[in-house]
Amino acid sequence: MKILIDAIRQLARYPSAIAGLIIIGTLIGMSFYAVITIPYSEAIKLWQGRDGVWNEIPRNAEPKWVNLFPGINLPETFILNSEDIVSKSLQPLGGGIKKIEKRMEFDFGYDCFPQEMSLFFDATYDERPPHVFLTWLTPDGREINLAERRADAPYRISLDRDLAREIGGLAPEVGLFADPFAEEIVPLQGRYGLQITGWLFEEDSSLDVRLVVFGQVHGIAGTDHMRRDLMVALLWGAPIALTFGFLAAVGVTASTFIIAAIGVWFGRWVDAVIRWITQVNIILPVLPILIIVGTFYSRSIWVMLGVIIALSIFSAGIFVYRAMFLQIKGMPYIEAAKAYGASNFRIIFQYMLPKLVPVLIPAFVMTIPAMVFLEASLAVLGLGDPLLPTWGKVLKDAWVNGALLMGHYYWVLLPSALLMMTGLGFAMVGYALDRIFNPRLRES
C-alpha cells in the first residue's frame, strides 16, 4: 500500500503522467455516467435496435456540432405532431362518415435539404382504415399534391417514385424544399405547410399524424447506417473497454508473475515443467486461436477474455520474471525466512512477490491499453461481442459500410479518438511508473 501511495505522489512530478491520469479519470467518469444513465439491459436493447426504437432518427447523420463550423448549416430532425396543427376541422358527412381537415406548419431555415421524410399515422379503426389526401404547401404559395392513400401504414414520402416524377425527377425530400426559381438546386427557406384531408368511415375512428423530417445531424456523436445513435456505443464502450482491459491485464500479468515465482522457488522439475509449458505456449499462435474461438465457438467478450488469459498465463514474460526472481531467491532475507521455518507458500506470497511488485505495476498498467486494442482488433475482424456496443464494433461498422469513402469521417474518428485516448492515457501513466519504479531508467 505504501508503495502505491509513494508512487502516486511521485507521479505528480511527471506532466505526462498527470495528463494520463486525467484521461483515465475522464474515462472512468464516462463509464459511470454510461452505466447509470443507460442500464446494461437497456444498452443491449438499444444497440439491437428492436421495436423500432430508432425509427425517427436519421441514418448516417453527422454530429450536431458540425454546424458550429463556419459555412455548415445542416438541418436537424424535426417532428411535427398534433401540437403543430394550426387549423383543424371535423365535418360529419352522414352515414357515420366524417371528413377531417388538419394543417401543420413549420419554419425551415437551413441551407441543406433534409435527408428523408416520413409520415406516420396513428389511426384507430375496426375494419376500414381512414383515407387521407395530402397536400404540400410551400412558402411561395405552391400547392403540391403528395398522395392519396389509406392511413394504415407509414407513408415514406422519400420513397414515393410517383411523387418524385411529378416534381421534376428530384428526390421528394429535395424537390419539396427546392427553390423553383433558383439556378442551382438550393432549399427555399420559409414557412412550409402540410394539409391533411381525411375521411373516417367508422363512428369511433380517429386519425392523428406525425410528420418526421429527418435531418442531417443528430446528437453529439451522430448516427450509423442503422439509425442508431452512436452516443450509446461511445458511452458504453468506455465501461466495457475499461473492464475488459483491467480484468485481462490482471489475469495476464498477475498469473504469469505468480507462476514465475512458484517455478523459481520450487526449482527443479516444477521449474522445468513451467518452462516447457511456456515453450509450448509460445508456439501457439494467439490471434489465430482467438479468431478460431470467435468463429467456431462464441463471440462473447467474456469468453474471449477467458481465452486471452488462458493463453497468456505461460507467456514469454515468465522468462523475464524468472530472471528477476532468481536474484531474489538468493537474498539473505529469504534465507532468514527459510531458517525460521516459513512455509513455501508464505515465502512466495509474502516475501518474494511483494519485492517485485514495483516491476509488475508498470507492466500491468501498460497491458491495459494493449488488451483494449486487442478487443477492438477482434471487433474489426467481425468477432466483436454479439450484443454489447463497443468502440471496436463501431469502427468495424464504419469500415464495412465505407464510412471513409462516403465522407462519414465522424463515424471513424470518434471511436478512434476514444481508443487512442485510452491507449495514450494508460501508456503515459505506465511509462512514468516505469521510470519511478525502475530508477535505472530515470532521467537525469
Binding site: 505526462s16 505456449n281 486461436i289 468463429t295 469502427l395 471513409l404 471513424v412 501508456a427 531508467l441
Partner: protein, 357 residues
C-alpha cells in the same frame, strides 16, 4: 566441455521437439474444435449429396423411403473417401504425423490463384506478398530504431530525446489503427496513394511498372507498421544502451579518450550484441504470420489474410499448415540461438539452467 555442450544441445533439442509436437497437436485440436468441424463437414457433404440426388431425374421420382438410403450410402461413401469414417481421435494423430512431416496436404475450400488445392502452393503463393511488406517494414523498423536509439543515447536529455520519449505511448495502438488514419489522410483526403491492394488492377505488364505500382501500394501499410512500433522500439533500445553505456568499462574507454564511435562499436554494441541478435531473429520469424488485421485493412494478399480466410471457411488443414511452419521456424530459431549463446557468450553456464533464454 565438449561432452557437456553436446548433452545440453541434445536435451534442448528433445525438449523443443516435444514442445512442437504438443503445440501442433493442440492447434489441431483447437482448429478442429475437438472434432466438431467434422460434423460441419459431414453436414456439408450431406447437403451436397442431397442436392445432387434431387438434380437427378430418376432419383427424384423415387419415394422418400427409397431415396433416403441412397443418399445415406452416398454420404457414407464420400465420408469414407475423405477419411471421415474413422474416429476423430485416431485421425487427429494422423493429422499430427502429416503436419510434423510437413506433408501439408490439400485445402478443403481455399485454392491458390493458380487454382491449386495444395496447401504448400497456397502458402508459397502468399509468402512473397507478406515478405515484401513485412521485410521492408521490419528492417526499417529494426535498424532505424537501433540507429536512432544509439544517437539519442549520446544526446540523452536533449529536446529531441525528450520528444521521442514523450511519443513512446503512441505505440499503444496497433498498426491497423494507424493504417485507418493513413488511409483517411493519404487515400481519401489527399488522394495521393491507393486505398489498399498490392498492385493496381489490372497488374502492369512490364516489370518496372509492376515494381513501381507495388512500391506505391506498400507506402501506407509500411508506414502504418513503422509508426505503430518505432517509438517504443527507440525507447527500449535507448534505455538498453544507456544502461550499458554506464558500465565501468565504458567509462574507462571514455577516460582513454577514444572517439565516441569507437566506444559505441567496441564497448556498447559488442556486449549488447546477443540481445540484438535475439530480437532480430524473432523479428524475422514474426514475418511468417504476417499481420492479420493490417492485411485485412489494406486488402493485402498475404499470409495473415490467408489465415483469416481459412478460419472463416473452417479450412482447418490450411490453419494447421500455417501454424506448423511457424512452429518449426520459431523452434529452430530458439534452438540456434541457444547454441550460439552457449558457444559465444562466456556468461552462459551450460547445463546450469539458471538463465534467460
Amino acid at each position: 566441455m565438449g561432452f557437456r555442450v553436446g548433452k545440453y544441445i541434445l536435451v534442448r533439442a528433445i525438449s523443443l521437439g516435444l514442445a512442437v509436437v504438443v503445440g501442433v497437436y493442440l492447434t489441431i485440436l483447437i482448429a478442429n474444435m475437438g472434432g466438431h468441424v467434422d460434423e460441419i463437414r459431414k453436414a456439408q457433404i450431406w447437403e451436397r449429396v442431397a442436392i445432387g440426388v434431387f438434380a437427378d431425374e430418376t432419383l427424384r421420382m423415387l419415394p422418400r423411403q427409397e431415396r433416403e438410403p441412397i443418399i445415406k450410402d452416398k454420404v457414407a461413401l464420400e465420408a469414407e473417401r475423405l477419411g471421415l469414417d474413422r474416429p476423430f481421435l485416431v485421425r487427429s494423430f494422423s493429422y499430427l504425423g502429416d503436419a510434423l512431416s510437413l506433408n501439408l496436404g490439400r485445402a478443403q475450400h481455399l485454392t491458390s490463384d493458380a487454382g491449386s488445392r495444395e496447401i504448400r502452393l497456397i502458402l508459397l503463393e502468399r509468402l512473397p506478398a507478406t515478405l515484401a511488406l513485412f521485410a521492408t517494414a521490419n528492417l526499417l523498423l529494426f535498424f532505424g530504431a537501433i540507429f536512432v536509439a544509439l544517437f539519442l543515447s549520446r544526446r540523452y536529455g536533449s529536446i529531441l530525446d525528450k520528444t521521442i520519449i514523450a511519443l513512446a505511448p503512441t505505440s499503444a495502438a496497433p498498426s491497423w489503427f494507424y493504417g485507418i488514419f493513413l488511409i483517411l489522410i493519404f487515400a481519401v483526403l489527399l488522394q495521393l496513394l491507393p486505398f489498399g491492394g498490392m498492385v493496381k488492377a489490372p497488374p502492369p505488364e512490364s516489370v518496372l511498372e509492376y515494381a513501381l505500382s507495388l512500391l506505391k501500394h506498400m507506402i501506407l501499410p509500411v508506414a502504418a507498421i513503422v509508426i505503430s512500433a518505432i517509438f517504443i522500439a527507440i525507447y527500449s533500445w535507448r534505455t538498453f544502451f544507456l544502461i550499458h553505456s554506464s558500465e565501468d568499462y565504458v567509462e574507462m574507454a571514455k577516460a582513454k579518450g577514444l572517439s565516441s564511435w569507437a566506444i559505441e562499436r567496441r564497448y556498447v554494441l559488442r556486449p549488447t550484441l546477443p540481445p540484438i541478435i535475439t530480437n532480430f531473429a524473432f523479428m524475422l520469424i514474426g514475418m511468417w504470420t504476417g499481420a492479420i488485421i493490417l492485411e485485412t485493412v489494406f486488402n493485402w494478399p498475404g499470409l495473415g489474410r490467408l489465415l483469416y480466410e481459412a478460419i472463416a471457411l473452417y479450412d482447418t488443414p490450411v490453419i494447421v499448415g500455417a501454424v506448423v511452419v511457424y512452429a518449426y521456424l520459431l523452434v529452430l530459431t530458439l534452438f540456434l540461438l541457444d547454441i550460439i549463446y552457449a558457444m559465444v557468450d562466456p556468461r552462459v553456464k551450460v547445463g546450469s539452467g539458471d538463465r534467460k533464454p
